[in-house]
């Protein structure tokens, strides 16, 4: 019953719809960005369907992958941190938590319901971003085989070529892989949420810390710190878009992320179970 109640509250809130709208808007912006870039490169002669990048390798799948990569780094963590942040702190500030805690319901069950729904939403918006990116790529650019070259996005260190069907299968695998990576900022923000009195504080704090850790993980100067930061492992799913899959490396990174997620979830639960509701 608590799962059903929390589910109803989630869908009656604006959060899933804001996330969906934000992701759709982001993809349109990405498309416009690619188009204007191509117009500049071709002095205004770009054919929106095919020629605004080198058509030999740029197509709808490349667009979907780039768009998903940017969205995964910048947008999805904000939405999952928002979801994690509002769970406990939002209910604390509204008084709803007091009402739920005076029911014959264990704190463990309430916590698990909140965690499960947040994870489901994270999986949902990750799948939505991937799906929308692919659909937009198909209709606005057109699919083909996926070719990746070394570049600033660090997608690969050498040229990769995947047949269209194989590339689509990899996109499908990227969905759970990216969801697992997002479970870390989600559980982290849930932990912050158990310490905060208001959702705004919880979301603001967790998003800020995520961004700082992301920047630190990207800067060469902090190389020694990287192994200790969950943000270093989050883009591990890029490894799925290689001709030869390095399963050992993928599983290793996924395990580290799962470890971080379990640690933050355990800390959040410990705090939620024992804290006083002053």
């Amino acid at each position: 019953m608590i799962l059903r109640l929390e589910n109803l509250r989630l869908w009656r809130s604006r959060r899933p719809y804001l996330a969906a709208f934000g992701l759709a808007f982001f993809l349109v912006l990405m498309l416009v960005g690619f188009y204007t870039y191509a117009q500049t490169k071709t002095s205004g002669g770009a054919d929106f369907g095919y020629t605004y990048e080198n058509r030999s390798y740029f197509n709808g799948l490349t667009f979907a992958l780039y768009a998903f990569y940017f969205g995964f780094l910048l947008l999805l963590p904000v939405f999952v941190c928002t979801e994690g942040g509002v769970q406990v702190a939002g209910d604390t500030s509204s008084g709803a938590l007091h009402m739920l805690l005076t029911r014959p319901l264990s704190r463990a069950r309430l916590f698990l319901a909140k965690l499960a729904l947040s994870m489901a939403l994270a999986a949902g918006i990750t799948g939505l971003l991937l799906g929308l990116a692919l659909v937009l790529g198909l209709f606005a650019v057109g699919w083909g085989d996926l070719d990746l070259y070394p570049g600033v996005l660090q997608m690969t260190d050498r040229r990769q070529h995947l047949e269209q069907s194989e590339a689509l299968a990899r996109f499908l695998l990227a969905w759970p892989a990216a969801t697992l990576a997002l479970a870390v900022p989600l559980t982290f923000s849930l932990w912050i949420s158990t310490h905060a009195k208001s959702a705004v504080n919880a979301v603001g704090t967790s998003v800020s810390i995520y961004l700082v850790l992301y920047v630190v993980a990207e800067i060469h100067f902090f190389q020694e710190l990287r192994p200790w930061l969950f943000t270093s492992y989050m883009p591990y799913w890029r490894g799925l878009f290689r001709e030869e899959l390095d399963w050992t490396g993928l599983v290793k990174d996924a395990s580290k992320l799962a470890g971080f997620a379990c640690l933050f979830a355990a800390l959040a639960f410990r705090r939620f179970r024992s804290r006083e509701e002053a």
Partner: protein, 316 residues
């Protein structure tokens, strides 16, 4: 472990709770028995909310023991809450749900679905006068309607102990009277124990069997409300000229102290009306009025508080 039938609904002994250096509750004792309404009163910051949070298991006492039906609400929350229901102030509601959904979901949390039927939900909404707004979202409700819904969620399914925090806030006078009727019915016909918290004594004095008054975390008064006013009754007379009347009464050994601009206050039972009339007529003093003065609970409490301050020489 389940709640014990033979244990009192509320039993708190020597409860202390501190927040940093501030002592919110200091050695509080409280017992609420089945079938009685106990009022919890006191000014803002007196410790009422802290006590309610201890009962709800939101806080753990620093000293002393809190038991609801023999169980610790902080450590055995799930089991305790099967028999206890709270209505906090301000009403903490789930705004995105309709009144019917809220009542239905909350009532079924931690219970089997069959324990609360749709008819139960409808009947409870009707009881608090919300049947016509049952399918409207709670976020569109006025404060008074939220308060009614808050009461409804506390009544379904019917608990054995009901704890209400400022239940009259936002209710119109008719609704306040209806609420009193509902609470009396629950006490008299269903044997519910009810703890009613309010910062206004006038709201609880008509309803409660016993009263606990807190001031700065300590118990100022505990007992039947009548005990608070007992011994504080007076006789108020108005006579012209007042000073002559006062002197005359003093000569007869009756202490009379000026009360306001025109009246004299005499100890209750010190004199009868016929004697005063006879006495004053003989001396040409005109008696304007003679009446018994029973102080309100608030006035009696204020006098008790002042007495306490004088005894201590200072407020704590």
């Amino acid at each position: 472990m389940t709640a014990q039938d033979d244990e009192p609904p509320v039993l708190a002994a020597g409860v202390c709770k501190r927040f940093g250096t501030r002592t919110a509750l200091d050695g509080l004792d409280l017992e609420v028995r089945p079938g009685e309404i106990v009022g919890l009163a006191g000014p803002n910051g007196s410790g009422k909310t802290t006590l309610l949070k201890l009962l709800a298991g939101f806080l753990s006492p620093d000293e002393g023991d809190v038991r609801l039906f023999g169980q610790d609400p902080f450590r055995q929350q799930k089991s305790v809450m099967r028999d206890v229901r709270f209505a906090f102030a301000p009403p903490p509601l789930l705004g995105s749900l309709t009144a019917r959904e809220q009542l239905s979901y909350l009532a079924r949390l931690g219970r089997r679905r069959a324990e609360v039927t749709r008819a139960d939900v409808a009947a409870t909404l009707a009881l608090v006068g919300l049947e016509e707004r049952a399918d409207d979202r709670v976020e569109t409700f006025s404060f008074g309607m939220r308060q009614r819904l808050n009461l409804a969620q506390a009544l379904l399914p019917r608990p054995r102990l009901l704890v209400l925090d400022e239940p009259n806030d936002g209710l119109d006078p008719l609704a306040v009277i209806e609420l009193r009727g509902i609470l009396r019915t629950l006490r008299d016909e269903h044997g519910l124990a009810i703890l009613l918290s309010s910062h206004l004594l006038i709201e609880v004095e008509e309803l409660v069997d016993r009263l606990l008054v807190l001031v700065e975390g300590r118990t100022l008064f505990a007992g039947a409300p009548a005990r608070l006013t007992a011994g504080r009754e007076r006789i108020l007379i108005e006579a012209e000229p007042r000073d002559a009347a006062r002197e005359l009464l003093a000569k007869r050994g009756i202490p009379a102290t000026p009360e306001g601009a025109v009246a004299l206050a005499l100890p209750a039972g010190s004199v009868e009306l016929v004697d005063v009339v006879e006495l004053f007529n003989a001396r040409g003093i005109r008696l304007e009025s003679f009446r018994r003065d029973v102080p309100t609970l608030e006035a009696a409490l204020l006098a008790t508080l002042q007495g306490e301050v004088e005894r201590n020489g200072r407020t704590r």
